[in-house]
Amino acid sequence: MTLGFYPGCSLKGSSREYAESVLAVAKAFDINMEEINDWNCCGATAAHNMNKELSLALPARILSLAEKQGLTEIVVPCAACYSRLTVTKYELSKDPALKTAVTDANGLEYTGSVSVLNIVQMLDKYITPNLEGRVVKPFDHKVACYYGCLLVRPHEILKFDREEDPQSLDVLMLKAGATPIDWAFKTECCGAGLSVSRTSSVGRLSGKIIGDAKDRGAEAVIVACPMCHSNLDMRRDAINSYLGEKIDIPVLYITQAIGLALGLDRKALGLQRHFVKVSV
């Protein structure tokens, strides 16, 4: 079976291990991940703050390319890319004039026929049903599943999970043998792009998240977004200095945790690339 794959910039750079683990898990289930040829940046946070048409044209181009390539379903592991692609589909389906403007700018046909899956939806649809019997090393730890802002919001457009109290990652982790904890910071902001410009703010915001996870006994934090990962992992020094203690709870991508449960090679899952050592 083949699924389309849009890695986006992060998965080629700072979060290569996310891409590696997605591909490794897919491979374990004989899913061929076909990358979209000549893909471009989704526009991220910058584009939609500056120019609406541009912010839609960029993702529309990606979707058009996928259509051209004959893909019907594409997997978008980055929560921010997922949000931009889904919002674009929504906006263009509502406004034919905008759709024309965007297709004209791109010079590519766009019908909106490609469905966009985030990583949870992909796992849910293609992995979980076949998971039984495949879990060789249950991920037997207390985990705090962290969704961040973009995976489940805005609900009106994404129509995915409960926006204030999401459950989808918890359900997946339960199936991988983990014990998801009940905690308060599932959807609080990690600081996002302030990672670069105001590291101290990230220290405070992400600090609250890691602090609560630790207080409630989590042994790992599970994420599905490169931005969240880099703030909670790479900015651990800032976090620790905000909290005034050294917390070494590792942060894993959902696909890394599932990969471990499947008994996949730690290196194939990119676990060695983290700042906070993955001891689980």
């Binding site: 609900h155 009106e156 409960r162 204030e164 109290d165 905690w183 308060a184 609080e188 609560d212 207080d215």
Partner: protein
């Protein structure tokens, strides 16, 4: 030959701003059969009506078309004017040039053309109008009041005091509604029960009021003045005549752990119970779902201890049919529960409570005897947070409207807390303080200035528990959206006031409309606040929108006056806009072939079979006949009749056809 008068109204500038009224009048004056045509600034004014009256007399008009506003506004005015000039009122028709034309189109020739078309089709229609006379129907001078909260109580008393009979039905075992649960009431802080219970007793004792508690409406038929209601009296498992209300059974019942509805789950009750000490009637009912005997087949302790032998385990629900002339709906509202708010813990923190629960904590008759103690461990909260607009004014939650009562009761709650817990700290997170009402703003200022309640303008994004405290994360929008975190011992959510569960079904039973939020719809938002679109059915209190007590009472008295007005007449006149089956000379008698499809389609059961017999008493024709007292003129039968034998008077096939042809033909 018809002699029709056309009267084109400017409605000030409402019509004339976009329609050339003089041209409309002039064009109409040239139509066949039009004897007189004129335009005037205000046709509904006295001089305007006189214009119509004198034209009828002087020109001998046989029909009138008034081209002005919607017939909903002024049809009665113009028909009455015609009648006064000696013309049958049903020879007068209205062309709606305002709502259907001038208001919805730009100024221009096409708009005037459309106005001309509208006039023309009515001129052609009037040519086929017939004189009709109004239908008289008797009035049953008994009112049915549904719901025994303060609104239903007030409406019942007001109607009963005009000398008319009232049947009051209440779903719960006692009347009183939400007001009976309240501790003290804004803006005066007087005790709710103290002002309510005298009225509850008055209802029970009033010779003109029959009270059925534990009762609900099963179905409703009929029309204004002549409704037939079926009422389900749920089994109380009790012979009320024998029961003295001694309460012995309730002290001995072993099923003691049932969350009390009256105490909003903060207290417990038994399976046989009286909801609260001042309940009216003060006699118990058995809640069969929780009763040991109905669950396990064994117990009957109440039967054994009852000194008068009043317990009846085999009692069944009773369906009762009553005839009433008017109905007041006063079924009130309900509030959203904390489980509606995932961001505030989904109801999993026992110390995050609703405003109604706070009322029970603050009430002397409540589970803590009026001391503010938190549900989890009974401790007195040292820090308490009140959240306004929990769910309200939040389109994302599907409740965009303001619940209206909460700003005021939050101020009351915070005040009560400060009065009861000295040294306690209270915080209110709000969006805006809505305190419109007599003495309301002053009341809120008192809470802030005299009682030191901390008002923070901003919303709360999350509440979570940590180390036994409820962490309330919010923002202060008056301080540049600065994050605010409060470690509270208890949080009170002013959850949105919403329509009752089942409101939709009740509305459908009553054939009344409701708004998108399932609150019952008034007939006009400004001018008919207590009427519904169904004649003879009125609204009172919070079933129409969230309302406080003064408003609910005012509405109730308003509805009562409407009922009394209705009952002041011995007969009602109804418009003769009803269906008739045609009659023809023998041997045909009627084009009706007696298929009786109409009988099965009529929603009001207004059609019956009629047999035409010859001299020897043999049936020679069986045909349909419409009962004019029951027919509502909905026209369903007309659409179904395959031989076109039924017409709605005033809207006959002939008239409709003529109207369409008038539009299609060139003039």
């Amino acid at each position: 030959m018809s002699k029709i008068g056309v009267f084109v109204c400017h409605c000030g500038e409402n019509i004339s701003a976009t329609v050339d009224c003089a041209k409309v009048a002039e064009t109409a004056g040239n139509y066949d059969g039009v004897a007189y045509s004129v335009d005037y600034k205000y046709m509904c004014s006295d001089p305007g009506q006189n214009l119509i009256k004198s034209a009828i007399k002087e020109k001998g008009l046989t029909g009138v078309v008034v081209a002005s506003c919607s017939p909903r506004m002024h049809e009665p005015t113009f028909r009455k004017a015609c009648a006064e000039a000696g013309l049958n009122p049903f020879m007068c028709e209205m062309a709606n040039l305002r709502e259907h034309c001038s208001w919805v189109h730009e100024k221009g020739e096409a708009t005037t053309e459309k106005a001309i078309d509208l006039v023309r089709i009515l001129v052609e229609k009037v040519k086929y109008n017939h004189s009709l006379s109004e239908i008289k129907v008797p009035v049953t001078k008994t009112a049915l009041v549904i719901g025994g909260g303060i609104a239903g109580i007030q409406a019942s008393l007001d109607i009963a005091n005009t000398g008319h009979k009232v049947i009051l039905i209440e779903r719960d075992p006692s009347i009183g509604g939400h007001m009976s649960q309240l501790s003290e009431t804004f803006p005066t802080l007087d005790c709710s029960q103290c002002i309510l219970t005298p009225r509850m007793v008055e209802v029970a004792q009033h010779p003109n009021i029959t009270l059925y508690t534990y009762a609900e409406l099963e179905s409703l038929e009929g029309f204004i003045g002549n409704f037939k209601a079926k009422i389900r009296r749920k089994s109380k498992s009790l012979d009320e005549k024998l029961c003295t209300g001694c309460g012995l059974c309730t002290t001995k019942c072993p099923a003691k752990k049932i969350p009390s509805e009256f105490n909003e789950g903060l207290g417990k009750r038994t399976a046989i119970y009286v909801p609260f000490p001042q309940a009216v009637p003060n006699k118990p009912v058995i809640d069969r779902i929780n009763c040991t005997y109905y669950i396990k087949g064994k117990c009957k302790i109440c039967e054994i201890v009852c000194p008068t032998g009043a317990i009846r385990f085999d009692q069944e629900d009773q369906i009762m049919e009553v005839e009433v002339g008017a109905i007041v709906i006063a079924t009130g509202f309900t509030v959203k529960q904390p489980d509606f708010f995932p961001e505030y813990g989904f109801g999993k923190y026992p110390d995050v409570i609703t405003g109604l629960q706070f009322e029970r904590l603050a009430s002397a008759s409540g589970p803590t005897l009026g001391e503010i103690r938190r549900p989890s461990d009974g401790k007195i909260p040292e820090k308490i947070v009140f959240l306004a607009c929990a769910g309200s004014r939040d389109p994302a939650k599907g409740i965009p409207y303001c619940s209206k009562i909460c700003c005021m009761y939050i101020a009351k709650h915070a005040m009560l807390y400060q009065h009861k817990v000295h040294g306690g700290k209270s915080y209110v997170f709000y969006m805006d303080i809505r305190a419109g009402g007599k003495m309301y703003e002053e009341f809120v200022r008192r809470a802030i200035e005299d009682d030191g309640v901390n008002y923070i303008r901003g919303r709360v994004s999350r509440i979570y528990e940590k180390n036994g405290k409820l962490i309330v994360d919010g923002a202060d929008t008056l301080l540049n959206a600065m994050p605010v975190e409060i470690e509270a011992d208890m949080v009170v959510l002013a959850t949105a006031g919403v329509a009752n569960e089942g409101a939709e079904e009740l509305a459908q039973k009553l054939h009344i409309s409701y708004d998108p939020y399932k609150f019952f719809a008034e007939a006009h938002p400004k001018l008919k606040p207590v009427e519904t679109n169904t004649a003879g059915i009125f609204l009172a209190g919070a079933c129409q929108a969230p309302r406080d007590i003064p408003e609910s009472v005012a509405m109730a008295s308003g509805a009562a006056v409407k009922v009394a007005g209705l009952f002041s007449q011995d007969e009602l006149t109804r418009e003769p806009i009803i269906a008739v089956v045609n009659r023809q000379a023998p041997p045909v008698y009627s084009s009706c072939v007696g298929c009786f499809l109409c009988i099965s389609t009529c929603p009001y059961q207004a059609i019956e079979k009629e047999e035409i017999k010859n001299r020897n008493g043999e049936v020679i024709k069986s045909m349909a006949k419409v009962n004019p007292g029951l027919c509502q003129g909905c026209g369903t039968c007309v659409a179904f009749c395959r031989t076109k034998s039924i017409d709605i008077q005033g809207y006959t096939h002939e008239q409709m056809y003529t109207e369409v042809m008038a539009l299609l033909n060139e003039y």
